[in-house]
């Protein structure tokens, strides 16, 4: 009898637990966004300078190789994929447009964003989570150092700035990767490829991708800091927090991408 009652309760228990954790995370994210934006106000401008420089280095320079490798391969793949259609119709002059348009607008920001969330976001959550479970965040509070100004703000600024710069570099290297592929694999002259990019790819496409990059950087920063700072439960908890952080970032990337695409066309 007792067992039956427990079995019947299980779905409700699960539902309630899920609802609680969703509202906890939604509230936490909103609160953190509010606190970060408040710290950005000119008369409350407050963040740790040296810590910001350190984060800019760690976030940007250390993600550089992986972003370059991803971007070159993505450019190559896009050229091969659009090359199949281009060959069908013999429109070689459009190859640069096809690859450039899709890289600059969609594929570049999404894939670099996913890589960035895996490399930087996960790392950030793991770091903050470890600090949280070893009570270092409480120690900061005890020393009257604001965790938002000291831990979150430098990461927030570094992630947004570096996501923007990495997408700029990524777009550029992706186009180079695409040009090399078109020369080697498709026998389309590199010069023709770049001429087509310059002729048909507009400033709009580039700006569209860069707006996305800033939005993704914002989302990854807030989500990874929130899940890091709300970690509990030792080493297992850190792993769970990292998992939740990358899952949340991936969903945020796709939802934001849809919203920006929808709003700008």
């Amino acid at each position: 009898m007792h067992r039956l009652a427990t079995t019947l309760q299980a779905p409700f228990h699960w539902l309630g637990q899920t609802a609680m954790s969703w509202s906890f995370n939604a509230g936490g994210l909103a609160l953190l966004t509010f606190q970060v934006l408040r710290n950005l106000l000119p008369w409350r401008w407050q963040f740790d300078g040296p810590e910001t420089w350190r984060n800019l280095y760690r976030v940007g320079v250390k993600s550089f190789p992986i972003v370059v490798v991803t971007a070159v391969l993505v450019g190559a793949i896009m050229v091969i994929q659009s090359g199949l259609y281009i060959e069908q119709y013999g429109a070689y002059g459009l190859l640069g447009w096809g690859a450039g348009y899709s890289i600059l607008r969609e594929v570049g920001p999404i894939l670099i964003g996913l890589m960035f969330s895996g490399r930087v976001g996960a790392n950030n959550t793991a770091e903050l989570g470890t600090m949280k479970v070893t009570d270092q965040v409480d120690a900061l509070r005890a020393l009257a150092i604001d965790p938002i100004g000291y831990l979150v703000m430098p990461r927030f600024i570094a992630m947004i700035l570096m996501m923007f710069l990495l997408v700029v570099i990524g777009n550029f290297t992706a186009l180079i990767g695409g040009a090399i592929t078109s020369q080697v694999l498709l026998d389309v002259n590199m010069v023709l490829f770049f001429q087509s990019v310059i002729a048909y790819v507009l400033l709009d496409d580039l700006l569209h991708g860069l707006i996305k990059a800033v939005a993704f950087g914002f989302a990854i920063a807030i989500i990874s800091c929130h899940f890091g700072l709300s970690t509990s439960g030792g080493a297992v908890g850190v792993g769970r927090a990292v998992n939740a952080s990358v899952v949340g970032s991936a969903i945020a990337i796709f939802v934001l991408d849809y919203a920006i695409t929808f709003a700008s066309l």
Binding site: I77, L114, R119, N243, V247, A250
Partner: protein
């Protein structure tokens, strides 16, 4: 690559020179990469060996199938659904501007989805959700010395921990890729209907896809499904240094798994292109 842990400089016994430092900065990532690659190959071989020789643990495999498959369904549906909506929105807008002809939209979208986006983005999603989970779980088992305990009980960790995850992820990657195609295509069809007024019957157009696209899609899914669990379990089993090590391992797992997906994508796509140009059409 960037996943390399910060290796402290070795004591050399001599005064370090600039040239020596330059060489070590150049060589350490290369050594790290080759070592990791060799270990991954070794683990892949061991996994296949235990799969062929050992007994099958159905219970563990079903647990992993549930963990990898069922619990990723919503996540994959949300992300791939949005991807379908985004791609159709962009492509439809361009087609409307340039030719005003939306007849080909559905057919070409299905082809591109099968060849590229469905397997690759699904694998990236599995790499973020499942690979971090696996690395964290196995990593905390290593930190709390449960893996050593397993080894004491004559249960090799690769046989006991890696094989069920490998089998489950390989199966589920293929299943989820097919699911992703369906979700993404339906989301695209709805977007085409509501944004451009394109009839769903016109949108569903199977005339562009052939055996080639299906084989490319499934072989990509198979390759990713085998690579992701090996990389995640390798990262988990090589954890050292307590709770910080677990965090580093999860980061390594997601970065290396995503990178492996992109590299495999490039290799298989180029092979497919070469095969297609050799085939008589």
């Amino acid at each position: 690559m960037s996943a390399s842990p910060d290796i402290p400089g070795r004591p050399t016994g001599r005064e370090p020179s600039n040239f020596r430092e330059f060489l070590s900065a150049l060589g350490e990532p290369i050594l790290y990469l080759t070592r990791t690659f060799r270990e991954l190959i070794e683990m892949f071989g061991l996994t296949l060996y235990y799969m062929a020789r050992g007994r099958t643990r159905w219970r563990a495999i079903f647990e992993q199938l549930h963990e990898v498959g069922n619990r990723s369904v919503i996540f994959v549906a949300v992300t791939l659904g949005f991807l379908g909506m985004i791609l159709i929105y962009q492509a439809g807008y361009q087609a409307e501007q340039i030719t005003g002809d939306l007849q080909l939209l559905g057919g070409l979208f299905l082809q591109l989805l099968l060849r590229e986006f469905a397997p690759t983005i699904t694998a990236m999603m599995i790499a973020t959700r499942v690979a971090t989970g696996m690395a964290a779980q196995i990593g905390s088992m290593v930190v709390t010395e449960q893996v050593d305990a397993l080894q004491m009980c004559a249960a090799p960790p690769v046989d006991y921990l890696v094989v069920p995850r490998f089998i489950a992820t390989t199966i589920m990657m293929i299943v989820l890729t097919i699911f992703a195609v369906l979700v993404s295509y339906s989301a695209g069809a709805l977007t085409a209907l509501f944004s451009f007024g394109l009839n769903v019957r016109t949108f569903i157009d199977l005339s562009f896809i052939g055996w080639f696209d299906l084989i490319l899609c499934l072989s990509k899914a198979l390759a990713y499904g085998m690579a992701v669990p090996i990389i995640a379990c390798h990262a988990g089993l090589n954890v050292s240094g307590g709770s910080e090590g677990v965090g580093r391992a999860t980061t390594n797992a997601v970065v290396n798994a995503s990178l492996a997906v992109v590299i495999l994508d490039f290799i298989i796509t180029s092979l497919g292109y070469v095969a297609l140009s050799l085939l008589p059409s």
